[in-house]
Amino acid sequence: MTQISIWRWPTHNGLPPLPAVASVVTVLTAMWLTVSLVEVDVARLVGSLSKMLSFAGNMFVMPDWKYLPQLLVKMLETIEMTFLATAIALFVSLPLGLLAARNATPHVIIYRLVRDLLSLMRALPELVWALVFVSAVGLGTLPGVMALAFVTVGFMGKFFAESIEVVDHKQVEGVTAHGAGWFQVRIFGMLPQALPDFIGTVMYILDHNLRAATVLGLVGAGGIGYDLVMSMRLFQYDRLLPIAVAIYLVVTLLDRFSDQLRSRIIHGVQAKI
């Protein structure tokens, strides 16, 4: 073999590994093939720059202060929807997650069935389920919460199952060996180990649900989304800005809070941030 360079990859022949090369080539080819399909047009992007700027310019107007109380109520409604839907989903997905984890499920058939059920629940986005529930129970926050909780179970159950599957088997065996029953092994051996992952999942989903809840207003399923869309349609820029800022603030606060909680649970004692 001729050595042309002093550099080599950590493989037998020093060349880059075939799977890595193949995937890079595949991705690049796919991108090249699809560029025309999605109409990526540089001229159009540059041409619309001025329109984007003028829209952004419109945003920076004096906010409509009289609108603030209503904004607060709507924002609170959105937060309530988020927490309620996530809490409902939490209770449903814990047992489902247990059944959908390969190492915790009572039977392979149940494992497959629950997995399929979960993917069905998250197959369609919240907005579509919201449309379904709005036509079923009418306008308001109820269909919003239902739609959110429904899709969340689909995601949360899957995430829970996956964090149970990576649990250390040694610790599970430690509990099993002392005569703990089927259920006790899961409660004492698996759940404590999966807990940090669970918290992470719940926090991520809360974050996601908050944003999803803002969108649900689009189809009349309650929350801030309706105001957001209406003010955009009616060019009420003095309302648009406070709404955007309020959503940003809530998402950021939630993020801070979740970081705190997570490190506390992972390290057991109060963490220094």
């Binding site: 430690g174 002392h178 409660i187 057991g268």
Partner: protein
């Protein structure tokens, strides 16, 4: 009287490896038995068979006269405690909760759903922790303890279930010499004072000689020695640690010269 009897047990794993090739042995109640053997001899598998963590492919295991099977597994385990090489504590739970998991065999699943125990369980757990000298660590998280301390929690967990037998699978293999000594002394004391039968897998010949009443030597799935520590001669040690694929094993002779 024998508390554990193994009747021509064999174990073949799904990958075709035969770890136990027909072993028959009786273990007397209240005795301290050490199983010696090279890595891969089947020591761990034999111990796991006695706790039902593995099921034998042939033969049977009897504990206090009852045959170990699927239906009585939980009941049998409630009188056989197990101590592991890697401690196998649930690291995110407190020390005392880990010890309390030794009581689970006596509690129903409904209470366990809410992590509930009885007051008497807590007393037993505290008592067990006092035995291993870790009362002041009771509320620490298990993973904050040193290796030697974690192993003592493991022993406390086994004690908390009030077992007739304690099986210890290489309990000192991950520990320093001083902690190893402490753990072995603790196990010996439990055997002497509480009359609990102890079966220990070991790699250290010297520890085996000092602590055991009886030594069982294993090599590639078979018993090659069974006797008192005094009967353990350099020749029998060679039989235990010999490696089939290597002739004139100088490493073996060298290692055993210091054993």
């Amino acid at each position: 009287m024998s508390i554990i009897s193994i009747k021509s047990a064999t174990k073949r794993f799904p990958n075709g490896f035969e770890a136990i090739k027909g072993i028959t042995a009786d273990i007397a109640a209240g005795s301290f038995t050490v199983i010696l053997g090279p890595s891969g001899a089947g020591k761990s598998t034999l111990l796991r068979l006695m706790n039902g963590l593995e099921t034998p492919t042939g033969g049977s295991i009897h504990i206090t006269g009852e045959t170990l099977g699927k239906s009585n597994l939980r009941k049998m385990r409630s009188c056989v405690g197990m101590v592991f090489q890697q401690f196998n504590l649930v690291e995110r739970l407190s020390v005392v909760t880990n010890v309390l998991t030794g009581r689970l065999a006596h509690r129903s699943w409904l209470g366990s759903l809410f992590y509930l125990f009885r007051n008497e369980d807590m007393e037993i757990a505290q008592e067990a922790l006092a035995r291993v000298g870790l009362t002041d660590k009771a509320w620490n998280r298990a993973d904050k303890l040193s290796g030697g301390q974690q192993q003592r929690v493991g022993i406390a967990r086994a004690l908390a279930q009030r077992p007739k037998v304690i099986l210890a699978d290489e309990p000192v293999a991950s520990l320093d010499p001083v902690s190893s000594e402490e753990i072995m002394m603790l196990l010996r004391e439990i055997c002497d004072r509480d009359g609990i039968t102890v079966v220990v897998n070991l790699h250290q010949v010297d520890l085996a000689k000092r602590f055991a009443d009886r030594i069982i030597g294993m090599n590639s799935g078979r018993v090659v020695f069974d006797g008192t520590p005094a009967e353990l001669s350099p020749l029998t040690l060679q039989a235990i640690y010999k490696r089939d694929e290597i002739k004139d094993d100088t490493n073996l002779n060298l290692a055993l010269a210091y054993a």
